[in-house]
């Protein structure tokens, strides 16, 4: 099957402008070029991308006729986001402390909007004659729903399995290494429910995505036409610019890999196809079209690097961001967008045919 996979999809993906700019960013960083896009440019670009994908998703959602299958997809998405952290946590606990394992679990249960967008871009550029090869607007809703449950589950796991507060907390897996007396200590229990809720559901990225989705549902065709020249037409070009920066950031994160260990890197590489395969199986079970199946695979296989880190820093400050951000941004993201997406689609094509 896969070993007989047509390599043209892979090549097609690697020739997409956005992917090439990602590679350019990675190469520039590895060659130690001084190229960078300082804050708040990446913030502007990512808010733009979230607005645009949300708005378009909302407009598409209203256009399509919803049936029961849509709700099944949304339910599956939420279930995924809540369940993935559980097994991830228990698996990672073999090698990491409670806090780091919980943060990694939340990271891998949640999703990466840019991976989703890149997959969408890939589908679009295929210009496939079969309309089943486009993603439905409700997949954006599915994405929006998958951001937060993993955060809640991750924090709950961190609390349930936290070391009793009197004992010295787990040794910090940090990169510095000063006197242990200066270490942060088990404090997950101190964050109240309201703050946790706010972090999980009111993170800026989540708000823009869900808000734009809702706005897209109500503005109607005339409203959409009026903002399309900004919200739709330049979208693929802006994605190039954003992925250039992602390439720079991802490659610069790599220097932290050494301190993370081969075991963890292995997890970050393997979890993507494993979870994606699970997503594909669920999509098959629900009878989704290939386009939607790819999106579900990508959501399942991707890991968060915006909403989850923000929440984890507040809710589980003992966890080391150099671990979970490096894994999701430096390993899983590149694997997914360069190789993952076309391979997942090849599997779907093979299975669906």
């Amino acid at each position: 099957m896969l070993w007989r996979m047509d390599p043209s999809l892979l090549l097609e993906n690697l020739r997409t402008p956005a992917i090439l700019f990602f590679v350019l960013g990675g190469v520039a960083a590895i060659l130690r070029s001084d190229l960078n896009l300082p804050q708040p440019i990446p913030k502007l670009l990512s808010i733009y991308l979230l607005m645009a994908i949300g708005l378009h998703g909302g407009v598409e959602l209203v256009r399509s006729d919803l049936d029961g299958r849509v709700f099944a997809v949304l339910g599956a998405a939420v279930a995924f986001s809540a369940a993935v952290p559980v097994w991830t946590f228990f698996l990672l606990r073999f090698k990491l402390g409670t806090a780091d394992a919980a943060a990694m679990a939340a990271t891998y249960g949640s999703i990466s909007a840019v991976t989703f967008i890149t997959a969408n871009n890939f589908l679009d550029n295929l210009h496939h004659p079969d309309p089943g090869y486009t993603a439905g607007g409700y997949m954006v809703a599915a994405m929006a729903l998958m951001e937060s449950p993993a955060i809640v589950v991750g924090v709950l796991l961190a609390r349930l399995f936290a070391a009793p507060p009197t004992s010295e907390a787990e040794p910090y897996a940090g990169l510095g290494g000063r006197a242990p007396g200066r270490r942060a200590r088990g404090g997950a229990a101190r964050l109240d429910g309201g703050e946790l809720f706010r972090e999980a559901f009111l993170n800026g990225a989540v708000v823009v995505l869900i808000g734009s989705l809702l706005i897209g549902c109500v503005i109607g065709e005339r409203g959409w036409t009026s903002v399309k020249p900004f919200m739709y037409d330049p979208f693929k070009g802006v994605l190039c610019l954003f992925l250039l920066d992602m390439g720079l950031v991802a490659a610069r994160r790599l220097s932290d890999l050494r301190s993370c260990g081969a075991w963890l890197i292995g997890f970050a590489v393997v979890s993507a196809p494993v979870h994606a395969a699970l997503g594909i199986a669920v999509a098959r079970g629900l009878g989704l079209e290939p386009g939607d199946a790819l999106m579900l695979a990508v959501l399942a296989g991707s890991a968060s690097y915006i909403a989850v880190p923000a929440a984890m820093r507040l809710a589980v400050p003992e966890a080391n961001p150099s671990i979970y951000v490096t894994m999701s941004l430096g390993v899983t993201f590149p694997v997914n967008i360069t190789v993952g997406i076309p391979v997942y689609l090849a599997v779907i094509q093979w299975w669906w045919s």
């Binding site: 270490r183 200590r185 915006i306 880190p309 820093r313």
Partner: protein, 102 residues
């Protein structure tokens, strides 16, 4: 000038993860300081490794907080600050300074 031209104060300087600035400011406020200044988008390196805001995840951003503290409330400030630093890392430096009143 109706007042003393200079006032002895303690100059407090805290470097901490951008996300925890609110916690520090709340502490300062509760301790009764009458002002503070925050500089954002600092980078740095310490126990937790290098912190360089990457602009994507927003994770590795530090902030610098500067506060001229009345010696009388210094005790409360230190007491309030310790648990925050303990929990979230960061650095707090104290020195002597004179406030040019006007």
């Amino acid at each position: 000038m109706e007042q003393d031209p200079m006032r002895e104060v303690k100059r407090l300087e805290v470097v901490i993860d951008a996300l925890h600035v609110e916690a520090v400011l709340r502490t300062l406020h509760d301790a009764g300081v009458d002002g503070y200044t925050v500089v954002r988008e600092a980078s740095g390196w310490g126990d937790r490794g290098a912190r360089r805001p990457d602009g994507i995840s927003g994770v590795f951003e530090n902030c610098l907080i500067l506060c001229a503290v009345d010696p009388e409330v210094m005790e409360q400030v230190t007491t309030g600050l310790r648990p925050v630093l303990q929990r979230h890392g960061g650095v707090a430096l104290l020195s002597d300074a004179q406030w040019i009143t006007h």
